[in-house]
Amino acid sequence: MADIVEIKNLRKSYKDGFEALKGVNLGIREGEILALLGPNGAGKTTLISTICGITTATGGSVTVGGYDIVDDFRAARSMIGLVPQEINLEPFERVINTVRFSRGLFGKGRDDAAVEKVLKQLSLWDKKDNQIRELSGGMKRRVLIAKALAHDPRVLFLDEPTAGVDVELRKDMWEVVAGLKADGVTIILTTHYIEEAEAIADRVGVIAKGELMLVEDKETLMQRMGQKELEVQLTKSIDALPESLQSDALRLSEDGKALIYSYDTRAERTGITKLLAQVADAGLVLRDVVTRQSSLEEIFVGLVHDKDKEDAA
């Protein structure tokens, strides 16, 4: 798949010297859902704001559909929809009017059928004549999405769409996002909920301190998560693995007091039974057995933590 958004060495620094983005490179594939994970203040919103034209970059470039966001800003922005983090809406305006306004603002002529389609897609059709202040929080979020979709963008940015939203509504929102993907919209969403990235993303990127630490297919990450470690603790430490136990999946801990075995939980045979039999045959006495799983959260926390240490050094 071709990259619909290309971000090259994007930098953003403020007058006080704070660097919000430190040279971000990222290609976003057409039709995918990319989740950007990161703690608060990592630069997620700055990245999105810069692509969408709310803030200006200090350096680097971004193209959307091949159009530069500065030189060809009209063509580039026509392709983008943005759903902001905060619920920013005109309280006294009617739902349908704000959606029409957004469409017109992006240069698309009045098209009642298109507006109706968007409102129905977001289950807002029966609320179309309500004033926005009369709507619930969840409905307001839907209005924000409807506004962002009113001009048929090909790329949709969702800045923390489910922050502060209850579980039911979050699942609801995921369904909306899945529906948009089915329509061929490329979706970039920021979140700090790992389960959200796991639930809906095709790829996951991790941002910390203005740098993109990792971008990987969710499947690859899930495989990493599928890896488990079995730690067989021994009553007496040994110097080396017995000849009969030598294998790629098994290693001895540094203090010689434990055997560490890596296996895939999703494999048909994990090889645990065989291993334990071999351990008994080798005459080793077990003290305890522990299993560990690396979650996306661990990978994420590890990356951010490493970054902290690196910066401190």
């Binding site: 969408c52 034209g53 709310i54 803030t55 200006t56 800003f73 009209r74 063509a75 580039a76 922005r77 026509s78 983008i80 943005l82 902001p84 905060e86 920013n88 809406l89 005109e90 309280p91 006294f92 009017n97 029409r100 306004f101 957004s102 469409r103 017109g104 603002l105 992006f106 240069g107 698309k108 002529g109 506004k147």
Partner: protein
């Protein structure tokens, strides 16, 4: 040029105006009627003719200018400040439009509202005093130029303002005194020489003088000077707005 976007902004702003129709129309009509009752009928009847016209008629151009100027400023400043205040301003920044479209949309709507109110006051005035307009085309030209230039000024004010107090303070402390001292209710020639000289630094003097000339054919300053003054004021406002969008001052900070 994205005309669809301009139309969208314009229509959206006008809708806001008509939604609050009582405030938008009734308030200026009532306050102007009060001016006519107090200055025109009560006090005006004791004042001799001013430059050949009755005092009640003399103050018509000034009163229209007073309202049109304040309305242009408040409509435009509120129009652009409100999206900033409630946070919908981001949409303007992410849309495929430049500052030209934003300014035409917001300033155009604010100027149109002020123009409508100006015309309503003119009609209201007809009920109180008798007057005729000698140069109707010039009158319309002055009215349009005034609404546009002060709507531009209001736009700058709305971008600059960080809260509602700041939004009110400039019209209250600077614009209203300038308009009152700009000859709304008197002729500059009635002032002592010293104050006449001071008045020449007040840009509103040129507007009211030109506007009054369109009505009665008499003016405090030459009509060309009036046109030049309003042109200069418009140019300065446009320059400031251009600079605001070029640097992103108070917009992309």
């Amino acid at each position: 040029m994205n005309w669809t976007a301009i139309r969208s902004i314009f229509v959206f702003e006008m809708f806001r105006f008509f939604r609050t129709i009582a405030q938008s129309f009734l308030a200026p009509v009532i306050s102007t009627s009060l001016y006519f009752v107090v200055f025109g009928a009560a006090i005006g009847s004791r004042i001799a003719e001013m430059e050949g016209v009755s005092y009640g008629a003399f103050i018509v151009p000034g009163l229209i200018m007073l309202t049109v100027i304040t309305q242009s400023i408040s409509n435009a400043s509120f129009g652009i400040y409100f999206p900033k205040f409630i946070g919908t301003f981001f949409e303007l920044l992410t849309a495929p439009i430049s500052f030209i479209e934003i300014v035409i949309g917001y300033v155009g709507a604010a100027a149109t509202k002020a123009l409508i109110i100006g015309v309503i006051i003119l009609i209201t005035a007809k009920f109180f005093v008798d007057f005729s307009i000698q140069h109707p085309l010039a009158m319309i030209l002055f009215l349009v130029l005034t609404t546009i230039s002060f709507a531009l000024f209001g736009f700058i004010l709305g971008i600059w303002a960080g809260n509602f107090e700041q939004l009110q303070i400039v019209p209250l402390l600077i614009v209203t005194p300038l308009v009152f001292l700009g000859g709304s209710f008197y002729s500059i020639s009635m002032l002592p020489n010293f104050w006449q000289t001071i008045s020449m630094f007040n840009p509103v003097v040129y507007l009211i003088s030109g506007f009054r000339w369109a009505f009665f054919g008499t003016a405090d300053v030459p009509i060309i000077t009036s046109l030049f003054a309003i042109g200069l004021f418009t140019a300065v406002c446009l320059g400031v707005i251009w600079w605001i969008f070029k640097t992103g001052w108070r917009i992309r900070e």
